[in-house]
Each structure stands twice: as structure tokens, then as C-alpha cells.
């Protein structure tokens, strides 16, 4: 995150241009710009992340960088701060640069104080780091940025994601940047912390700082940004002062999306899954999509994991069983499947082939005495790839070489192959671009129409509002409200999530 390293800082201060053909370009424009990138190309292993991309931002403005996943935003940000060298093109950054990346770059085993002051710790005698002055110094840093509810002695591993993000931002803000780049700074933050960050971004703007940020939430972009730049397919599309959401979506995806959410088929009467998970009573009918709403971190993840991995009695399709590990869930009654939010960390085996990934959960169904029946496997894999229209050069290619949307399909395909009738989908659309989301909604609605039961959680309340027959709003591990769907208006769910309990 912050000032990538000393060399980069030197570059930033002295207006050095990176790239091969950097001789005479851009001299004229640099006056008005704090950040300027022109004609940037960058490839990663044959995939072109940026092609002839340009970006410019002025001092004293808040500039949003918008685009779908894979549009090149993150790569552009890494190029701007010097972490990634462009294959071609010029980059100029004027002034002291600080960056906060999407992947948190706090050191988990260090305390808040050590993290905040790693660059320039307070010195005592003999120029040694003074452990005694470290904590008060960190406290001062936190307080000057309006944070007084964090103990600087806390090891950052023990903090919530939101608090970690706050510490991360404080560290960046404390470097008094002249150019500040924030990659998805609000993704992990709560409402109130977003307001805190917005205030700081505005203050920096008044002080003449150039603030660049990316966000998936259009509301924030509208509220904060003086100008918006849209990226698509690794290149610059437009830069505007005003941009309505509908038009932005069109610009970002390159096509218009009308009815984003598919119509829902009414559920059947038969109960697919019944369980009491902690304080939550669950009953999902076949063909029903049950949404789990609420603010982040209200026990939703625990609910999903309990149903799939641990110590839980369930009745699945009328059959009672006890789940201790995923294998039990897969085999329970009509079968349970779990699709996690982070498909790279928890779902797919990226270096392994599409075939291996698809077949993994159901290996023993196509085996004799422990040997894989390869012909049967090939047939099953081909069938599921056809059904989901997975686009891959062949089933033998590593799944990591597929596009994000196709990876998602492979993960869903694994569970369709298992024949699971109960699908647990946990925040599956996180970080997925609009077009893929659209396909995904249709897929889920279609699966439900075929009689499968779906339990759906999403950090985007809009999805829960439109895609679910029924919604349970969770707060502190309990059901705070139950709404009949499709709710349609996400505000209703949010209201139920924050409202005090009516009957205690």
C-alpha cells in the first residue's frame, strides 16, 4: 500500500516517466495534472490487462475510477503507484503518493501501533526504536484522524475486517499525501465509517490533494466524486463530471441491461431442508429461494458454514442426518452444496484442470474399486459444460486460465454434477461484473424453477430484495424480521436490519 518503496517515491517526486517510449511525450499536459498516465500497455502471462490506457487527475479533486471487474482498474492503480511496471507508455505522478490497496496490506502479527509507525518509528536513546513511545505516538495518530475506539496495542490479526480497513486508511492518511489512491476503500466499511472516510477525502481535496478512488457502489461515486473515469476492457472509455448510473452501467459493460432480475416461479409445497441452526429456525421448500439479509457480520457466514461443515442436525428432503464435515452434507438426503464467496481461496483448484475441478466432489460415483472411470467422467464433464455453456479451450485446461464468469460456472457445475437439491450460495456475486451477475441470476432462478431449494446471502441487498421468495433478516445471530418477497425495495431490508427489535 503506502508509497510502494523508496525508489518509487523518488520517482514520484522527480517526475520520472516509466516505460520504453517515454522520451518527449506528455510534457505539455503535466502542468495541470497530479496524476497522468498515457498509452499504457500491460500484459500478465498473455492476458492484456491494459491496452493503450490513459488516466489523468488534477490536484484538488476527488476522481472516481469505475469499471467492471477485469476492466483494468486495479492494474492501472498498481501502475500509477509503481508496483507494476507498464510494458509501454508514460506515467507521471507529481507529489507525495500514498495508496491503499484492495487486499489489505496490514501485517497481521504486528500491533496497530507497529503497523502505523513501521516506516518511521519513534526513536529513543542510541537511535533505537522506543517501545515506550510507540503506543502513545500511535494513539496520537489515531486520534488526530478521529479514531478513539481502537487500542494501539491490539494485534491487527484480532481486529474485524472493518477495523483493519480503518487502520489501513489511517496509516495512509497519516503520510500527508499529495496524491492519494484508494482501491475499493469502502468495501469492508460500515455506513458510519464510510462517512468518516468521505469527510477525510473531502478535507484532503480542500488541501489541494488529488484523491483517486474506485468503488462498486454507485451511490458513493455520485456522492463523492468530482469527476468519473470509466474503464472497459483495459482501456479508457470516458471521463465526465456527471454520469447517471444507467448510462454508467452501459458504458462499463458495453451493452444495455433492461430487466436485470429474472421472474420467479412459485415454490412447491414439499420441504427441502429443515434445521435449527443456533437461534435460527430454517425451513426451505423445494423451488424456493430463501434470502438471508442483514448487515454484514450478523452470523450469516456461521449459519452457512454450520449447515455445510459442522455439528449440525438437518432434515434434508425428509431424511434426518447429522453433518460433521462437507462430505456428510453432500451425502445428506437430497444433497447439500455450498458455493463460497471467494472462489479462488475456497472454491476452485486453480492450477488443476476444468475436469478435475468439476469432478472433485463426486469422484466415487464414477469409480470402480477406487479407480476413476474415465469414460464416464469425460461424458459427465462434457454434459455439464454444455449445459452451463462453460467457455474453455478444453476440459483439460487449468481452470485458472478461464475468465471469472466461466470459473463461477465451473464451481456451480461441480454441484450440479453432485445432484444437490439444496444450494447454499454465500455472497457468490461479490466482485463479479454486471454481465456475469445477470447470467448468474437467470441460472439461480432456473435452478429453483426445477425444484431446487436455494439459500442465498449477498452483501448486495438489492440482490436479496429481487431474487428471493422470502427473506430472513439477521441481527446478532437471530432472525430480526421475516419478509415475503420478492421484496423489491432494498431499503425495506436495510430498515429491518437496523430497526430495534419490536417484540422482545
Amino acid at each position: 500500500m503506502t508509497e510502494a518503496n523508496s525508489e518509487v517515491r523518488a520517482e514520484a517526486n522527480s517526475e520520472v516517466r516509466a516505460g520504453a517510449n517515454s522520451e518527449v511525450r506528455a510534457e505539455v499536459h503535466t502542468e495541470a495534472h497530479a496524476v497522468l498516465a498515457e498509452g499504457v500497455d500491460r500484459s500478465f502471462g498473455g492476458v492484456r490487462a491494459l491496452r493503450d490506457a490513459s488516466f489523468a487527475a488534477r490536484p484538488g479533486e476527488i476522481h472516481a475510477l469505475a469499471g467492471e471487474n477485469g476492466a483494468g482498474k486495479s492494474t492501472m492503480i498498481k501502475v500509477l503507484c509503481g508496483l507494476v511496471k507498464p510494458d509501454r507508455g508514460t506515467v507521471v505522478v507529481k507529489g507525495r503518493l500514498a495508496t491503499a490497496f484492495q487486499e489489505l496490506s496490514l501485517l497481521p502479527d504486528l500491533t496497530i501501533a507497529e503497523n502505523l509507525l513501521l516506516r518511521d518509528p519513534p526513536r529513543g536513546r542510541l537511535g533505537l526504536v522506543s517501545r515506550r513511545r510507540l503506543v502513545p505516538a500511535a494513539k496520537t495518530v489515531l486520534e488526530t484522524h478521529g479514531i478513539d475506539d481502537l487500542d494501539p496495542r491490539t494485534v491487527t490479526r484480532d481486529l474485524s475486517v472493518a477495523h483493519r480497513q480503518v487502520v489501513e486508511l489511517v496509516r495512509v492518511l497519516a503520510t500527508r499525501p499529495e496524491v492519494l489512491i484508494l482501491d475499493e476503500p469502502t468495501a469492508a466499511l460500515q455506513e458510519q465509517q464510510v462517512a468518516w472516510l468521505a469527510a477525510h477525502m473531502r478535507r484532503l481535496r480542500e488541501e489541494g490533494c488529488c484523491v483517486v478512488f474506485t468503488s462498486h457502489r454507485w451511490r458513493e461515486i455520485e456522492a463523492l466524486a468530482d469527476r468519473v473515469t470509466v474503464f472497459r476492457n483495459g482501456t479508457h472509455v470516458t471521463t465526465r463530471e456527471r454520469l447517471a448510473e444507467a448510462e454508467a452501467v452501459t458504458l462499463m459493460s458495453g451493452r444495455t441491461l433492461e430487466a436485470t432480475y429474472p421472474p420467479l416461479t412459485p415454490p412447491q409445497d414439499a420441504v427441502a431442508l429443515r434445521a435449527r441452526v443456533g437461534e435460527v429456525e430454517l425451513k426451505i421448500r423445494r423451488g424456493e429461494i430463501l434470502g438471508i439479509g442483514g448487515l454484514a457480520g450478523q452470523g450469516q457466514r456461521e449459519l452457512f458454514l454450520r449447515l455445510f461443515t459442522g455439528r449440525q442436525n438437518v432434515t434434508v428432503g425428509g431424511v434426518e442426518s447429522t453433518i460433521r464435515k462437507p462430505k456428510d452434507a453432500i451425502r445428506a438426503g437430497i444433497g447439500i452444496a455450498y458455493v463460497p464467496e471467494d472462489r479462488k481461496a475456497e472454491g476452485l483448484l486453480l492450477p488443476m484442470s476444468v475436469r478435475d475441478n468439476l469432478a472433485l466432489a463426486t469422484l466415487e460415483r464414477r469409480s470402480v474399486a477406487g479407480f476413476v472411470r474415465r469414460a464416464a467422467e469425460r461424458a459427465a464433464v462434457r454434459d455439464i459444460m454444455d449445459r452451463l455453456a462453460v467457455r474453455a479451450a478444453s476440459s483439460r485446461h487449468p481452470v485458472g486460465t478461464l475468465s471469472g464468469g466461466n470459473q463461477q460456472k465451473v464451481l456451480m457445475g461441480r454441484w450440479l454434477l453432485s445432484g444437490a437439491e439444496v444450494l447454499l450460495l454465500f455472497d457468490v456475486t461479490r466482485g463479479v461484473d454486471a454481465a456475469t451477475k445477470h447470467d448468474f441470476y437467470a441460472l439461480v432462478a432456473g435452478l429453483a424453477a426445477q425444484g431446487r431449494a436455494v439459500l442465498l446471502y449477498s452483501s448486495e441487498t438489492e440482490e436479496i430484495a429481487h431474487l428471493c421468495h422470502r427473506v430472513l433478516v439477521m441481527r446478532e445471530g437471530r432472525v430480526a424480521a421475516e419478509l415475503d418477497g420478492p421484496v423489491g425495495d432494498a431499503e425495506l431490508i436495510v430498515a429491518a436490519a437496523v430497526r430495534e427489535r419490536e417484540h422482545v
Binding site: M1, T2, E3, A4, N5, S6, L83, F101, E103, L104, S105, L106, L107, P108, D109, L110, T111, E114, L118, R119, P121, L128, V129, S130, R131, V155, D158
Partner: protein, 313 residues
């Protein structure tokens, strides 16, 4: 995190072994250990203490150094082969041994950091190289050390060893309070993040492996001084014992957590165990059995205590 808390496991294990030592000693000999016993314990522990500090630094960055065996062996060979002359000549060769250790360590660090080869593979290969060099320098065990040098380093009657132990501990405490010290923990905690916040990870790695080599060189000096002769294979046991000391000392194998002081305590505990076995009348052939058990039990205790703490919070 305070140094004390970080090294709790090491101290606890050391205390337990010390009690066992006292009990076994007194029941066997009918009196408490004499100052001479303590001094001899201190002197025999010193080489391992140094290697353990070096190993700690490497493990704190998430690496491992198997080549300590070769580097100690090389150091021992240099000192033993060179110390045929007077005290001044011996001292000179001792400095050379320490320098050779640091150089070998730097090579490890460069290969790991710049060559992007896993630490365990790098140091396994260099272990072979450094052991070979030790054989070249001193083909057969031998050598003698001048009493003058010995009285400065590990006098059998005067606790000069305490000074060096103090220096080692002080050295660690100072290092911990430098920016380099903070960076060691940063690299071990999350290398990618550390790089992103501007920690020069390659330089830090070269630094810790060099220091590990330097510590091995120092260990070699003290080894020759205590045993008064040299064996080119003298370093081999230190591979296992230094890792054991680090683990017993409560340093997380994944890096980022722990203190070298714990490893120092672990080094003493491991040396004590051998004496406990001796006084308990157990055949020394079983020595490695107990060292192995000690290692596994200590790490189990460590994971158990973190589990308990985690459950409570």
C-alpha cells in the same frame, strides 16, 4: 507484544527442565549442583544458544536454515586448523571463522531472496557445499586451542561465559529495537503486504540469513573453545537442536511471532535434558529419543496453549 509474553513457552519449558535437573541431580548425588556444574552447563550451552538465535531470526521471517550444520562445521574447521599458533593468531582465525559464517549466510540469503528458491531447498544444497568446505579445511578431527583464548571465552573456572551470554541477549534486544528488527517481523507476518508498505524484503532476508551465518560462526568459536578441539562434522547435530530450540522457544513456524529469547531458553532446556538423562541413569544412546519427544511435546504444548487462549477470548 512484550518480549516476556512472546517467550513464555520457552521459559516454562526451561523452568520445568531445570526443576527436573535439580531433583535428579540431588537425589543422585545427595547435594545441590555446584557452581562448577552451572558453569559447565553454561559453557556447553553457548554454541547452541548462538545457533538458536540465528535460526530464530530466519524462522521469524518464515524461512528455515538447514545449512547451520555446514556453517558451524566450517567455522570449527577454520578455528581448529588455524589455531596452531599463539593467542593472537587463534583470535585472528576466530574472526575469520565468524566472517566465513556471515559470508556463507549472505550467500544463502541471496539465493533465497533473489533466486526465489525455497529456503529449505536452498539451505539443504548449501549444507552440502559448506560441509564439503569444512572437510577441505580440516580433513581429520584435530587442532588445539590456546588456554589464553579459552580463559577469555569459556573459562572452566571463571564465569566468563556469562559475559558472552549477556552480549548475545543484549544483541538480540538491540536488534529487536532497530528498524531492521521490526522489518523481520513484518516480512514473517505477511511478505506481500510488507513489500507493499515499502519493506525491502530481499534486503531483510539477506540480512537474517547473514546473521544466522554470523551466529553459526560465533557458535563454532565457542564450540572449539569448550571442547578444545575441532571436528569438521561438529555442526551436524545443530541442525536438529537449533530447530528444536526455536520450536520449544515458542516461535511460530509460519513466521512473524515469537522471540529469540524463547529460543535461548529452549537451547538451555535442551542442554539440560541431556544432563537430566545422564543423572537419571539413562543410557546416552537414548539421548535423541528424548530430544525428539521433547520437540514434539513442546510444540504440542505450544499449540495447546494458543488453543486455550483462543477459546477464552
Amino acid at each position: 507484544m512484550s518480549e516476556l509474553r512472546a517467550a513464555t513457552l520457552g521459559y516454562a519449558v526451561l523452568a520445568a527442565t531445570a526443576v527436573a535437573y535439580l531433583v535428579v541431580y540431588t537425589t543422585n548425588l545427595g547435594h545441590l549442583p555446584t557452581p562448577f556444574d552451572y558453569l559447565s552447563l553454561l559453557n556447553t550451552s553457548l554454541p547452541l544458544v548462538f545457533v538458536a538465535i540465528g535460526q530464530s531470526l530466519v524462522v521469524l521471517t518464515g524461512g528455515i536454515d538447514l545449512s547451520v550444520g555446514g556453517m558451524v562445521g566450517l567455522g570449527v574447521a577454520i578455528v581448529a586448523a588455524g589455531s596452531t599458533g599463539g593467542a593472537a593468531v587463534t583470535a585472528g582465525w576466530m574472526l575469520a571463522a565468524v566472517a566465513a559464517g556471515a559470508l556463507c549466510g549472505a550467500v544463502n540469503g541471496l539465493i533465497v531472496a533473489k533466486g526465489r528458491i525455497a529456503p529449505i531447498l536452498t539451505t539443504l544444497a548449501t549444507l552440502s557445499v559448506y560441509s564439503g568446505l569444512a572437510l577441505k579445511v580440516l580433513p581429520v578431527p584435530g587442532g588445539k586451542i590456546s588456554p589464553a583464548v579459552r580463559s577469555v571465552l569459556t573459562d572452566p573456572d571463571v564465569p566468563t561465559g556469562l559475559i558472552w551470554l549477556g552480549a548475545a541477549v543484549a544483541g538480540w534486544l538491540v536488534l529487536r529495537r532497530t528498524r531492521f528488527g521490526m522489518r523481520v517481523y513484518a516480512v514473517g507476518s505477511d511478505e506481500t503486504a510488507a513489500r507493499a508498505v515499502g519493506v525491502p524484503t530481499a534486503r531483510v532476508k539477506v540480512g537474517v540469513y547473514s546473521l544466522s551465518g554470523l551466529c553459526s560462526g560465533l557458535a563454532a568459536v565457542f564450540y572449539v573453545s569448550t571442547t578444545t578441539s575441532g571436528d569438521p562434522n561438529a555442526g551436524d547435530p545443530f541442525i536438529l537442536t537449533s530447530i528444536a530450540a526455536v520450536v520449544v522457544g515458542g516461535i511460530a513456524f509460519a513466521g512473524g511471532r515469537g522471540s529469540a529469547l524463547g529460543a535461548v531458553a529452549g537451547a538451555f532446556a535442551l542442554t539440560l535434558v541431556i544432563d537430566v538423562l545422564f543423572f537419571a541413569g539413562i543410557d546416552p544412546l537414548y539421548q535423541s529419543l528424548f530430544q525428539g519427544l521433547f520437540l514434539v511435546v513442546a510444540v504440542l504444548l505450544g499449540s495447546l496453549s494458543t488453543l486455550v487462549r483462543w477459546r477464552r477470548s
